[in-house]
């Protein structure tokens, strides 16, 4: 590094835009490297996008054609059959509704508990902060394990209780650290001085000044929590026994993996043939239907992800 620094000095005054500069110096190797890079990028795009695209076209295609390998780029033998069945199925709706409730209530609790704590821990005059941080960080490496957790939840009456989806997961230490780093680095200290002069306590300073300036981090953290709740399968598997309370992911498991009979009466595992093919179409449709909310909001919030992860990376 030492010698490199010396050279920066030497070339530091050369104020040429980077792109032009690079183009001037292209060697044959550079061309080869460029071509290889573009091929690799194209490969990555196809490898990641194609499976998702295939699910979409398979969900509206004739399954015989899908299984014969005739559906590759566009749907063939167009049919809404899968989606019609899904719309007519109570289990999906039940799971969907449950998951929406669990996700929204859960995320709200997450934010209400995590953000004030992250703010408090970002204040240097908070004397307990090192101790409290240690208290939180330890839990990233040590935990009680499945059975002690299960027995504790049982004592607390959380077994087969919908609160198990929203209460125990109230704080995610990783998200807390991200939010704390944001408050530390992005909120100017002068604001606090001004607030103090105006006689604002920490509560009002946080609510009236810090929060309105922190919409980016609230969005990122909120989204992390929301996705976590939406995709939560484990909690339903371990702690919920009643069908009415099952979240979407458990319903999906039953339909997609356990192959349990669908409303259309076609899901038996043994007899392949016609019934199994229709079951497959339903499966492709269910994959889309359950992932759709995410696919719809994803493009709008994607730009925040870089920010969120980078903020977390600073002091993670």
């Amino acid at each position: 590094m030492g010698s490199a620094n010396g050279k920066i000095q030497a070339s530091g005054s050369a104020n040429i835009p980077e792109n032009k500069h690079r183009r001037e110096q292209r060697t044959p190797t550079d061309w080869v490297v460029d071509i290889v890079i573009w091929l690799l990028v194209a490969f990555v795009i196809v490898a990641i996008m194609y499976p998702l695209w295939f699910v979409i076209i398979a969900s509206v295609s004739n399954q015989t054609l899908v299984n014969n390998g005739q559906v590759f780029i566009v749907p063939k033998g167009f049919s809404w059959y899968g989606y019609e069945q899904i719309f007519a199925d109570d289990r999906i709706w039940n799971g969907y509704m449950n998951t929406i409730v669990y996700s929204l209530v859960g995320t709200l609790i997450n934010l209400v508990v995590t953000l004030p704590a992250a703010f408090a821990l970002s204040r240097h005059e908070f004397h307990g902060r090192r101790l409290v941080m240690l208290f939180f960080t330890i839990t990233m490496f040590v935990n009680g394990g499945l059975i002690p957790t299960y027995l504790l939840y049982k004592q607390l009456g959380l077994i087969d209780n919908w609160l198990v989806f929203v209460i125990p997961s109230a704080v995610n230490v990783y998200n807390l650290i991200i939010a704390r780093s944001f408050f530390e680095t992005s909120i100017p200290e002068e604001l606090h001085d001004a607030a103090q002069i105006d006689g604002l306590g920490y509560f009002r300073y946080f609510l009236k000044i810090v929060l309105p300036l922190s919409s980016a981090i609230v969005a990122v953290i909120g989204l992390y929590y929301l996705v976590q709740h939406w995709n939560d399968f484990f909690t339903g598997l371990i702690y919920i026994n009643t069908y009415d309370k099952q979240p979407l992911q458990m319903v999906l498991r039953d339909i997609l993996l356990a192959n349990s009979a669908f409303a259309g009466g076609s899901g038996s595992t043994a007899g392949a043939g016609y019934g199994q093919e229709l079951a497959d179409q339903i499966k492709y449709g269910v994959i889309i239907a359950s992932t759709l909310p995410l696919l719809v909001i994803y493009p709008f919030i994607q730009k925040y992800f870089n920010k969120g992860v980078m903020i977390g990376a600073i002091k993670g």
Binding site: M1, K7, I8, A10, S11, E18, H21, R22, T27, T29, D30, D34, I37, L40, V41, V44, A47, I48, P51, L52, F54, V113, P116, A117, A120, F126, V132, F135, F136, T139, F141, V142, N143, G144, G145, L146, I147, P148, L151, L152, S169, A170, V173, L176, N231, F233, L252, R253, L256, L257, K283, I287, S290, P299, Q302, F305, N306, V309, M310, A313
Partner: protein, 305 residues
């Protein structure tokens, strides 16, 4: 400015609002994270249904011995370590390669497009991912089965073949998380001083040399820390995905410590035995973490503690 010598009680009184804001989080973590830790003593006790979590007789290391002597011990350890290490190494290398690759794209629009696409699978639920794997790898008819057949990789039943469980696991794991995990390296790369590139080019460095001598050293510290953090999870293979991918045919290769803990703990109610296995798992994790940290400190002078 605040007076210097307030003492602990004094500062709590003065900054009670900050304590009040942190309190809910502290309470939740105390109950739901530390509560179960208190229950770890179950690993050394005979669980008694009538006396609850901590009422049973002390039995010392009985349940640990039972686990070490169990015929399943070898298989479980081998499966867990095999799946973990493959996922660890591949899940570590590919995001770095992808970040270096994305960093080479000069058009910011294309860059953004590639990033958007590669992050997307990270947000899909495990249940959906596993069902996609099942559908794509269906014997004969699956779309991936066909493609693989064309390039000469054949199997009667991919999901039922114990030898293929680990590759399917780590490849799909990389597919799902490679983009997301590359973000942190991209962050490190974006902070490289552009003058460093200029300097290297004046020295006659080509594109590959720039990657080798500027980009790679720039992300090394990040690599170190991430590797350490991941090492701590070597025995912690994600329960959900393995559990969902398991079937009776591949069980020899797919039963891992976490799925076994679930089966004997939750399904068979052998609470003490299951707790002991969980604790053993955590201790090994911790050992891996410490070892990796020591190595990283010696080699790259960066560690997490």
């Amino acid at each position: 400015m605040a007076p210097r010598k307030l003492g602990f009680i004094g500062t709590v009184k003065r900054y009670w609002q900050l304590w009040a804001m942190a309190l809910p989080a502290i309470v939740f973590v105390a109950i739901f994270n530390y509560g179960p830790m208190y229950g770890i003593q179950l690993a050394f006790r005979e669980f008694d249904f009538t006396k609850g979590l901590t009422g049973g007789e002390w039995v010392g290391l009985k349940y640990f011995k039972q686990f070490f002597d169990s015929p399943l011990f070898g298989t479980l350890m081998a499966n867990t370590v095999r799946i973990s290490l493959w996922t660890l190494v591949m899940g570590f290398i590919f995001p770095i390669i992808l970040a270096l690759l994305i960093n080479q794209i000069r058009s910011s629009k294309v860059k953004g497009f590639v990033q958007t696409i590669t992050y997307l699978p990270h947000f899909i639920s495990t249940v959906v991912i596993v069902s996609m794997i099942n559908l794509f790898l269906k014997p004969d008819a699956g779309v991936l089965t066909r493609v693989l057949g064309v390039i000469g990789i054949q199997s009667d039943n991919f999901m039922g073949d114990p030898n293929l469980f680990t590759p399917i696991y780590w490849i799909t794991e990389v597919w799902q998380h490679v983009g997301w995990n590359s973000i942190i390296y991209l962050a490190a790369l974006s902070s490289v001083d552009t003058a460093l590139y200029e300097a290297a080019k004046i020295d006659g460095a080509g594109r590959l040399q720039l990657i080798r001598y500027v980009d790679l050293p720039a992300i090394m510290p990040t690599c170190g820390v991430l590797l350490i953090l991941n090492m701590g999870n070597v025995l912690n293979v994600g329960f959900e995905k393995v559990f969902l991918m398991q079937n009776t045919l591949n069980l020899d290769a797919s039963e891992v410590i976490s799925t076994y803990t679930y089966k004997i703990g939750i399904l068979q109610s052998q609470f003490s035995y299951s707790t002991a296995i969980g604790l053993f798992n955590m201790l090994i994790n911790f050992a891996f973490l410490v070892i990796a940290n020591q190595i990283s400190r010696k080699v790259s002078n960066s560690g997490i503690f």
